[in-house]
């Protein structure tokens, strides 16, 4: 199946202060998406000072110098949808507003880029620190298997590697944060030269640039932070076990894999589909459908800026052991490495990838909408128009390139194997596992 991707037409200009501005017109619905990426995430933090980037995202909603009150009311009053998120590599903020409220959205977005610190009081800081500690309890500590990524991140990466800690940060680090550390963080990273703005939707291109210049042009550029680099490798298979408040044991298998957009990244994404996306996938079909050894199985390429991980997860059905499941998965992996996918599997996988590229063109705003994609391509590739090239990475993949990627990146003797077991039931873990805890 082939089709031509519709062009995601846009215009990009860079303001004198270094802020990239990208405008995309789509007049189907009278709304405009405003999307800002700051090229800062938890990878820009240091050990002992984790959780900054994410806590900072919260503070960006508490007010700025000229609007010294909550960020939400004036925008919700205008009918906007507002949100933000932080990951290892970037922090994004967005509003989707009726066309009539674009001035207000840009005024607010620019005010917090240019004038946040005068409004950042100790009280606001301490309150949001509590909110974040609650978020941590709700989303990680009080959730089954919620602490797994913490254990896996520390196993995959050495302690000074910026992916060895979680974006939410350690609870101790969050409690120990000081207001002046946070202010310094803002001065370093929240600068036009480290940001990218997309306006997408019911807006005329020239008008978009005029507004962007008016609201953002006056903000001092700042120094673009140096890129982060760090390396990590596994030399052997590490077997770990973690107890949790769960009913059934589950195994997580993790490997290092090529960074986002690097050669092999798209192949590993497709290997994930081949193994565990949908009932037709090899592991679902055998483990869940035919053998009924597992309740669920998933596989995915976690693409990140300076290095990715590939993860396979399976939950044992009652009466089945993790060892049997792993033995089966390993045989399937060996099969992929020796024979690769069939032509039919390849066609199906690429067809799905192509359709999903099309589905992503349906919304102008929000996480994953067109404005967010343009910013992702601009910040991570320096080219908002990377859409077609991105799709081509999938179209050009072959059974051989998948086989080769699986051989190179999924070795059975260099990986992390984490068993998560119901409390006290150590016999359910894989043999030879070392106990770990995460808090």
């Amino acid at each position: 199946m082939t089709f031509s991707a519709p062009n995601l037409l846009f215009t990009k200009r860079t303001l004198a202060n270094g802020l990239d501005v990208i405008v995309h017109e789509d007049h189907h619905v009278p709304i405009v998406a405003v999307n800002v990426w700051y090229h800062v995430g938890s990878k820009n933090e240091r050990p002992g000072r984790t959780g900054f980037a994410h806590l900072f995202e919260h503070l960006m909603f508490e007010g700025s110098e000229h609007h010294n009150a909550g960020y939400f009311p004036p925008l919700q009053q205008a009918g906007a949808l507002v949100n933000g998120s932080t990951n290892t590599d970037r922090t994004n903020y967005w509003e989707v507003v009726p066309t009539s409220a674009i001035d207000r959205a840009l005024w607010m977005e620019s005010d917090r880029m240019g004038y946040l610190l005068p409004a950042l009081t100790r009280e606001r800081f301490e309150n949001q620190r509590d909110v974040v500690l609650n978020e941590r309890r709700q989303s990680y500590e009080n959730r089954p298997y919620g602490m797994v990524m913490m254990a896996l991140s520390s196993a995959l990466y050495p302690p000074d590697h910026p992916y060895s800690w979680m974006t939410i940060g350690s609870a101790d680090d969050i409690r120990a944060m000081q207001l002046d550390d946070v202010q310094e963080f803002f001065r370093t990273y929240y600068r036009p030269s480290n940001a990218s703005l997309v306006l997408a939707g019911d807006i005329d291109t020239e008008r978009g640039f005029e507004l962007a210049e008016a609201y953002f042009g006056e903000i001092p550029a700042g120094v673009r932070p140096a890129p982060i680099s760090a390396a990590a490798a596994l030399r052997s298979e590490q077997r770990l076990v973690m107890e949790d408040r769960v009913e059934l044991p589950r195994v997580y298998m993790a490997w290092h894999s090529p960074a986002m957009f690097a050669p092999g990244d798209a192949e590993m994404d497709l290997v994930g589909d081949l193994l565990a996306n949908g009932k037709t996938s090899r592991l679902y079909r055998t483990l869940v459908y035919e053998l009924r050894m597992a309740l669920d199985v998933s596989a995915y390429q976690g693409s990140r800026e300076i290095g990715s991980f590939f993860m396979l997860v399976a939950t044992a059905a009652p009466g089945h052991t993790l060892a049997d499941i792993v033995a089966h998965i390993d045989r399937e992996l060996e099969q992929v490495v020796s024979d690769g996918p069939s032509v039919e599997e390849m066609e199906r996988s690429v067809a799905q990838a192509e359709a999903h590229f099309m589905y992503r063109l349906q919304t102008v705003g929000g996480f994953g909408g067109k404005s967010d994609q343009l910013n992702a391509y601009n910040v991570l590739r320096g080219n908002p128009g990377f859409f077609t090239e991105d799709l081509d990475r999938y179209r050009l993949a072959t059974p051989d390139s998948l086989r080769e990627a699986a051989r190179a990146y999924l070795p059975l003797n260099r990986r992390v194997m984490l068993s998560v077991i119901p409390r006290g039931q150590h016999a359910l873990a894989l043999d030879g596992s070392t106990a770990v805890t995460a808090s």
């Binding site: 009918g79 906007a80 507002v82 207000r104 066609e347 199906r348």
Partner: protein, 459 residues
């Protein structure tokens, strides 16, 4: 050159005009309602088939049957196995989903327009002619039993299950769509066939087709795929209609806890049954909810999250159904803050009934966030199909979308207080905690709610 004035926020201009999608209603000779909506932005088409009879139609003692039947729909049809169906869907890049509601089940398939014909015929084969094989049934049921076992460790799922049970008691709405361990074990293969035969009838279904084609072409795809659907089974009805059963309203406030020793947070639900989705007070109730807990800047979220720092977030809402629907506050709070969070929540629910009527600012904020963002919900074919399916589910008029904004804008602060006073009754609220009982028992005594009834973690 635009001059930026930072001394005040820019005003928001007049709401831009927006034309809501036109729905063309047709009925096929077999009784299937086919509603078509043109949506021209991306070459995508969505088929959403809504079948009457969701989890509220589960026969007594067989909670979870409707959801199992929905699961069985993509387990095989004709010569195709579950694997073959999955393969066929993948080959046209289709997204397929079955969503079991209290009153109906919505089956949706989205694909590229050039695969519309294949997508429609696959969906029809799955819905109308599922294989319903016993071996597939056994596997699907076992997966659901195992899933239930896992949900015992998910505090929000435990809270949902227990809350529904407390407010609805034995009513057909009083369970999760997945059912319970004991009810799933009672479900047999023959129950699946008889539920399918009874519920899955063209005259009990509405097919919404929305996509980048003319109405005629959308209708043609529907007719080609579903035109030969004839009522199957023994003609038995699709089970009790939950919406018609009047629930027994709890006479008194209920205070309950599900003990989860060592829990890092307490999961809370506070609410009771309120009214039906079709109530004429709907506009007042949605504004009331927006003020109280339906948005970020609502009273409850600002109090519990922004002022007190007890939680990552708190919200209220109506879980709308055709029949009497519950209102509930839901949040997850730091264990040590449990009693204080409950006290603050109860005080806010009490206050909106009259002692602290919504201010002009609150009213303006609530109404603006409900109305000004309304067109945003019509951006994708799936969104449009979903909204149109709601019109079918509740029997709303075609003019519903166009009337929503003016109706909400007409709501006054007095209407909100009146609606709150009539539909929220603090003396009948069910307050449920899923949390560390021994750690908070002492602090709960100060609430004046009495000793909580203790329930086991049960699913």
């Amino acid at each position: 050159m635009i001059r930026v004035d930072r001394s005040r926020l820019p005003e928001v201009g007049a709401d831009p005009p927006f034309t809501f999608p036109a729905i063309v209603r047709n009925v096929l000779p077999n009784g299937l309602r086919v509603w078509t909506v043109e949506h021209h932005s991306v070459p995508i088409i969505t088929f959403s088939l809504q079948v009457d009879g969701g989890s509220g139609a589960d026969p007594s003692g067989l909670d979870g049957l409707a959801a199992i039947v929905a699961d069985m729909v993509d387990e095989g049809t004709g010569a195709l196995s579950a694997i073959d169906i999955s393969d066929a869907l993948a080959r046209i890049g289709a997204e397929y989903d079955a969503e079991v509601g209290a009153d109906a089940t919505l089956f949706s398939l989205t694909t590229l327009t050039r695969f519309a014909s294949r997508g429609a015929s696959l969906l029809a084969d799955m819905i109308v002619r599922p294989s319903l094989r016993e071996s597939d049934f056994t596997r699907v049921r076992q997966l659901r039993l195992d899933r239930l076992r896992q949900l015992k460790d998910v505090p929000s799922a435990v809270a949902e299950r227990t809350f529904l049970r407390l407010v609805y008691d034995e009513h057909p709405y009083g369970h999760l769509s997945i059912g319970s361990d004991s009810s799933l074990r009672q479900v047999s293969h023959s129950d699946v066939a008889s539920f399918h035969g009874g519920s899955f009838q063209p005259a009990r279904a509405t097919l919404v087709v929305c996509g980048d084609m003319s109405h005629d072409d959308l209708l043609r795809h529907a007719r080609d795929a579903f035109g030969n659907w004839v009522a199957a089974g023994d003609g038995a009805d699709g089970g009790a209609v939950a919406a018609d059963v009047e629930p027994r309203l709890a006479p008194l406030a209920t205070f309950a806890i599900v003990a989860r020793e060592g829990a890092a947070q307490s999961e809370l639900r506070i609410g009771h049954l309120a009214t039906r989705r079709v109530t004429p007070d709907y506009p007042s109730l949605v504004v009331m909810n927006a003020v109280l807990g339906g948005q970020f800047v609502s009273r409850i979220n600002l109090k519990l999250r922004e002022e007190k720092g007890y939680t990552y977030g708190a919200r209220t809402g109506f879980d709308w159904r055709r029949g009497v629907s519950p209102f509930a506050l839901q949040t997850s709070v730091h264990t040590g803050a449990t009693a204080d969070a409950i006290a603050d929540s109860l005080a806010e629910i009490q206050a909106v009934r009259g002692s602290r009527p919504p201010s002009d600012t609150e009213m303006q904020l609530a109404k603006a966030s409900l109305t000004r963002g309304y067109p945003r919900g019509f951006e994708t074919a799936q969104q449009v199909a979903r909204s149109v399916a709601q019109i079918a589910l509740y029997g709303l008029p075609d003019t519903y979308f166009a009337e929503f904004v003016p109706k909400v804008n007409a709501v006054t602060s007095a209407n909100v207080v009146d609606a709150a006073a009539r539909y929220l009754d603090p003396s009948k609220l069910t307050t449920l905690i899923v949390g560390d009982h021994s750690a908070i028992a002492e602090s709960l005594r100060g609430l004046g709610l009495g000793e909580p009834q203790v329930f086991p973690v049960e699913l």
